[in-house]
Symmetry: C2
Amino acid sequence: MFTLIKTDKNTRARLGKLETAHGVVNTPCFMPVGTQATVKTLSHQELVDCAAEIMLSNTYHLYLRPGIDVIKQAGGLHKFMSWDRPVLTDSGGFQVFSLAKLMKVKDEGVEFSSHIDGSRHFLTPEAVIELQQVFGSDIMMPLDEPVSYPCSKSKAREALDRTIDWARRSKACHCEEPRRSRGDEAIPKREIASLPLATLGVARNDGSIRQLLFGIVQGSSYLDLRKEAAEKLVDIGFDGYAIGGVSVGEGEGLIYDVTEYTAVLLPETKPRYLMGVGTPQDILEAVSMGVDMFDCVMPTRNGRNGTAFTKTGKLLLRNSKYTRDFTPIDKGCGCFTCRNYTRGYIRHLLNTEELLGLRLVSLHNIYFYVMLMKEIRGAITENRFTEYKKELIRAYKDKERLKGR
Amino acid sequence: MFTLIKTDKNTRARLGKLETAHGVVNTPCFMPVGTQATVKTLSHQELVDCAAEIMLSNTYHLYLRPGIDVIKQAGGLHKFMSWDRPVLTDSGGFQVFSLAKLMKVKDEGVEFSSHIDGSRHFLTPEAVIELQQVFGSDIMMPLDEPVSYPCSKSKAREALDRTIDWARRSKACHCEEPRRSRGDEAIPKREIASLPLATLGVARNDGSIRQLLFGIVQGSSYLDLRKEAAEKLVDIGFDGYAIGGVSVGEGEGLIYDVTEYTAVLLPETKPRYLMGVGTPQDILEAVSMGVDMFDCVMPTRNGRNGTAFTKTGKLLLRNSKYTRDFTPIDKGCGCFTCRNYTRGYIRHLLNTEELLGLRLVSLHNIYFYVMLMKEIRGAITENRFTEYKKELIRAYKDKERLKGR
C-alpha cells in the first residue's frame, strides 16, 4: 500500500504515497485531529479546501460518544461525519491511560471509568480492532499501553511487554484469528476482517484495499527497549509503524533522540508515523529523520487560543498591538482567512469572544500545516530539503531573537 | 431609494426594492443580526451563500468594541468585517437602556457605564449619527428611548417626546445642521453628511446614493402615542420608518395590534421595519400588515441552543431521539448543513459541545429565514400570499398538536 518514491540525498527525508480505501495520501503528511469526529470548529469542506488528504479521529472518544452502534447505523465513520477521504483512528490507548478514571490494566485488556459519566468499561485489543472495523477506518491503531515521563525501566518494560502482546493479538484479530462474531451480525469474524470495505458500505474504492493496521513502538526513553519493540513489531508485521510515547514531557532533545534512533529501525518500505508531534520545527526535524506521518492538536488548540502560525513564527492575535493592523495574518498565505480577513478584525473577534475568531485562526493553522507538508514534499522532490529546513528554522529563530530584545 | 413594486390584493403585504450604497435589497427582507460586526458563528461568505442581501450591526456594541477609531482606520464597517453588501446599524438606544449600567437620560443625550468595563460614556443623538457615518452604514437608525413593558402612560409620553426631539436632531445632524466637526478631520460636518460614500472609501456604488436614515416610532402600547409619533416623524421626513419598542414582553396579541395599527400610519412610499421581530409566524403576520423589513436574533440564538427551524416547526436537536436519525434537518432544504450533515451527526456535535454543531444549526436557520422571505416575495408576486401564509401557519400548528398528544 506504501510506495517509497524518493529518499533525500543529504537527510533521511522520504517522499512517499500511501494508498488507502478512501484514496491516496502523499507523504510526508499532516493529519488534522478530529478527536470527536470533527476537527474542532471546522467543517469537512474547510478541511477539503485546506487540501487535507487525511484526518485523524479517536476510538476512545467515539466509543463513548456517540457509541459504536450509532456509527455503525450511520454506515461508518466517514458517512457519519461527511468525510470521504482517508481516516486514521487512534486506538484510544493514550486516552484510556490519561483521561479515563479508575483505570486497571490487566493482560486481557483495560478496565476504566468514562471521563464523561463514570460508567465502567472494559476494552481488549480485539474489541478496539472490532470498533475500528465498524468505523471503517482506513488506518487502524492497536491498543497500547503508553507510559508517562519519567518512567522507571521496570515499569517501561512491563508496559512494553503488554503492548507487544496486544499488538500481536490485534494483528491476529484483524487478519488471522477471529475470536467472536461482530455484535448482532452473524458473519464470522474472519470473514469480516477480509471483507472488502465496500461490503460494509463505507468505502469508495473498488474494494481491493483492506483497512490498514499499524504497529506502535513504545519503550519510553530507553533506547534498548525501543529497539526491542521495533524488532518484535516488525516480526509480527504491520502495514506501517508508529513511534508512540514521545512528546510526553521529556523535552525536545530526548524527543529527537528517540525518534532518530527508532525511525531507522523500521522497514524502509513501510510508512512511519510519529504520534502527536508537533511544532513546525519538530516536524522538519522528524522528516529529516525519515518520518512520514504526523498528527497534532497544536494548529487547532492554538487556533482556539488565538495563536496563528506563520513561517516567521507565531502571532498572538489577542495582543492589543494587532488592534489596528489591517493586514492578513500572513500576506503570502492563500487560506480563506488570509484572503478575506485582517489581524485587526480577528483580534476584535477574539476580544469579544466571537466564535468566528476561533474558526478563522484554526482554519489558517490547519492550512499552514498542510501547506508546510506540501512544501516539504516539493523540497524533497527538488533536492533542496536541507536548505528549506534550514531557512524555515532560521526564520523562526530570528523571530525568537526579535522577541528577546 | 425605495420602489414599491406591488401591494397584495387581499392583505397589506408589499413587494419592494430598497436601493442602498452597497446594493439593492428586495423586500420583504430579513436582516441577520451581526451585533459585534459578525453574525454569531458564521463567516461573511456563509451569509452570501445563504443569499442574505443585508445584515444588521449595532452602534452601541461597535462604539465600545473595537471603537470608532479602529473602524474608521479599517476604512469603515464593511471593510472591517469583509462584507460588501448593505448594512443597517441599530442606534444602540435599546442596548444603552437595557444593557448599560448606571444610565442617566437627559434631554441632551444619555450617560451610561459600559457593560464591559464600567467606563463612563455620554452619547448624544448627533454623536450616534456621526458614529454611523464613520461606519459607513447604508441605513442608520437615530438614538431613541425605548421603554419596557408595561409602562405608565406618563413615562411613555416623556420617552416619546425625547425620542421625537432626538429624531429631529438626528435628521438635522445628518442632512442640515452640522454642529461640530468630525473628530480629528477638518471637514465641516455639513460636508461629510453630503459626501458621496465613495469619498469615505466605503462604498462600491457610483457615489450617488447617500446613507439612509430611518425614523423610529415609539409609544409603548398606547395607540394614540403611536399615532402621534408616526405623524411627527413623517413630518420630519425619513428614508424609512421603524416600529420600535415591540416584542418587549407584551405578548403576541399586543405586538400584532400595535404593528397593524402603526404600519398603516406610515407612508406607502417608504420602507417599514419592525425591529427585533420575530418567529416565522410573527413575520408572516407582520408582512400581511404591510411591514417590509425584519431583524431578529432568533435564528442564531436558537441555532446555538440546538434548535432548528423547519416549515413544520422547530426541532430540538439535542433531543436523544435524533441520535440515530440520519436524515438532514429538513429534506427539502438546500443549505450547506442539510446538503452535507444529518440530524444524528449534529446531535452528536451538540452533545459533545463541538462548535461545529452551533455553526451548522445557525447556518441552517439563517438560510431558513432568508428563504422564507424569498418565498414570501414569490407568493406576493404570484398573488398567493394569503394561501402561502395560511399553509405555513397550519403546518406549524399541526406540529404543535402532534407534540400535545
